[in-house]
């Protein structure tokens, strides 16, 4: 009996060690987000102190080398391109999810889903290259150089489409089968069952998915960097070139010093804030728990 008790003791000890090690790992992993934010803030402080937040809006233009730090054109460009991408991805992504969940025969649905999953893994730099080689010359026929808000929105829309489609399908799948059966029992045809029962029930999940897609589009860098043209001015048409916040960071980080570098960190902080808000809102829709 003593032998058993001894081994029990050593087991309790190893359990304790296991718990401590695993829990601290979880806390360390979660704390990385604070480390990221802390470093962004500490690098941003010089800019906020010496230049001040107001000048990011009131300065005449973005000429960091001659001390002009107006970020507005880039914020507008980021928002416009993101909006364009959502306008393209939302109807197509939701349709694709409805097709996959309710219309496609099982064998096709599986492969359709795999195609979409596959596309979500294609590097953004590859999408950018494709847009540059294939799409830009086509868009150029509408005017401009082809590197424009429209080109960037189209490709970005394609890139976030898998996010919309996969989260929407997850939301539709979690609608209880009995509800749909109830609709069918009331004599609803397929399209009304989807419109009146499935979509309203999945509304929160779909909205959450759109918010995640929005966060992804806001933060996307390589494709817009290669496709939007990168000229810092207020865009006046959809075929005009523009530079987003993310592209600006990627373009100037290489040579930025002192105050200029610090302003880039301020824009990074701004991006992370937008993304954190979208993700938290999406979390309330339950899309993140999927």
């Amino acid at each position: 009996m003593t032998k058993w008790s001894l081994s029990t003791l050593s087991r309790l000890k190893s359990d304790w060690l296991f718990t401590v090690v695993t829990r601290s790992s979880a806390c360390v992993a979660a704390a990385i987000v604070f480390l990221v934010v802390a470093f962004l803030i500490s690098e941003s402080i010089p800019a906020i102190r010496q230049i001040g937040v107001g000048r990011f809006i009131t300065d005449a233009s973005w000429h960091p080398l001659s001390d002009q730090f107006n970020l507005t054109p880039m914020i507008v460009a980021s928002l416009t391109i993101t909006l364009g991408a959502i306008l393209i991805a939302a109807p197509l992504g939701i349709s694709a999810a409805i097709y996959c969940q309710f219309y496609a025969p099982t064998a096709i649905a599986v492969w359709y889903r795999r195609l979409i999953e596959l596309l979500s893994g294609i590097p953004s730099v590859v999408f950018g290259l494709w847009g540059l080689v294939v799409l830009a010359p086509i868009v150029a026929r509408l005017g401009g150089s082809g590197q424009s808000i429209l080109t960037a929105s189209l490709v970005l829309g394609l890139m976030i489409l898998p996010t919309v489609a996969l989260t929407t399908q997850a939301a539709l799948r979690s609608v209880p089968g009995e509800w749909l059966a109830g609709g069918a029992a009331l004599g609803f045809c397929r399209s009304s069952t989807i419109r009146r029962i499935a979509l309203p029930a999945a509304r929160r999940g779909i909205l959450g998915g759109l918010l995640l897609a929005l966060a992804r589009a806001m933060g996307e860098t390589m494709a817009v960097l290669m496709l939007a043209g990168n000229v810092v001015e207020m865009p006046d048409s959809i075929v005009a070139p523009a530079r987003t916040l993310t592209a600006n960071i990627a373009l100037e980080m290489g040579y930025a010093t002192a105050g200029h570098r610090s302003v880039l960190f301020v824009s990074g902080l701004f991006l992370i804030a937008i993304v954190a808000v979208s993700v938290s809102l999406a979390g309330f829709g339950g899309a993140v728990d999927e």
Partner: protein
């Protein structure tokens, strides 16, 4: 020997088992019967503190197993569970070889000698009548066995720890009739050496194999014992009118 005194089990605010005072004599089979959802399984799992695994579960009252208080803070649940084997409704062998299924827990509890381990393996597999069926494929996955064989392996796995008590939660209900009969015969053969508690829906089975019977019934949302005593007495002359109706097949 198992004894409970005013045992109540709660899940959060909801009471599942109310005020159960119960006694299972050593070396006998005690059947626990009653309709589904009346707290039988909850009661059973409170006896070896499996309720610890459910974060919201809470126990009041006293459980005494082999003269020790189960809730004693100085005793680890692992030590308790080593001397109280448990068999579940659905056979749940681990996804590993037959040999490792049996030896994993024995090794964990301090037995390292390979020869000893193999000896234990053979003797418990003989006890459950599985030895001749599996002796040539001890290193095959346990998941390849049939349902009845898996359940007998689970019993062997519990016996390998040399428990004095076996708790069985509807061990035959997920099996086909033939496998069920084999397992039932096995349970009867274990009677002398172990104190056995078996939860069952099957009144005929309870009557066939048990020495004592306790009957649970749902009262105000929580399970209570309404009838308890030697099997023949309880079945032939139940005191409680609900028990009488239940046994006659007119209630529940």
């Amino acid at each position: 020997m198992i004894q409970t005194q005013s045992l109540s089990v709660y899940y959060g605010d909801k009471q599942a088992v109310r005020d159960v005072t119960f006694h299972a004599p050593a070396g006998k089979i005690t059947a626990i019967v009653g309709p589904s959802g009346c707290g039988k399984s909850t009661f059973l799992s409170s006896l070896n503190r499996m309720t610890d695994l459910i974060p919201s579960a809470r126990i009041e009252g006293q459980v005494i197993v082999n003269c020790c208080d189960v809730q004693d803070r100085n005793r680890s649940p692992a030590e308790l569970r080593r001397c109280v084997g448990m068999i579940f409704q659905k056979p749940n062998p681990f996804a590993m070889s037959i040999r490792n299924n049996i030896q994993l827990a024995v090794r964990e509890h301090g037995q390292r000698d390979r020869q000893q381990l193999n000896q234990i393996t053979e003797s418990v597999l003989r006890d459950v009548g599985l030895w001749d069926e599996v002796k040539d494929r001890l290193d095959d996955s346990a998941l390849k066995l049939s349902g009845g064989q898996q359940q007998r392996l689970c019993i062997a796995r519990a016996l390998a720890l040399k428990p004095s008590i076996l708790l069985m939660d509807e061990p035959c209900s997920a099996l086909d009739p033939i496998a069920s009969a084999t397992v039932e015969a096995l349970i009867l053969s274990l009677k002398e050496r172990y104190t056995i508690l078996i939860v069952t829906h099957n009144l005929a089975q309870a009557r066939r194999i048990s020495d004592e019977v306790a009957m649970f019934w749902m009262n105000d949302g929580a399970g209570e014992i309404i009838e308890q005593g030697p099997t023949e007495t309880v079945f032939s002359k139940p005191n409680h009118p609900i028990a009488a109706a239940y046994f006659a097949g007119t209630s529940g």
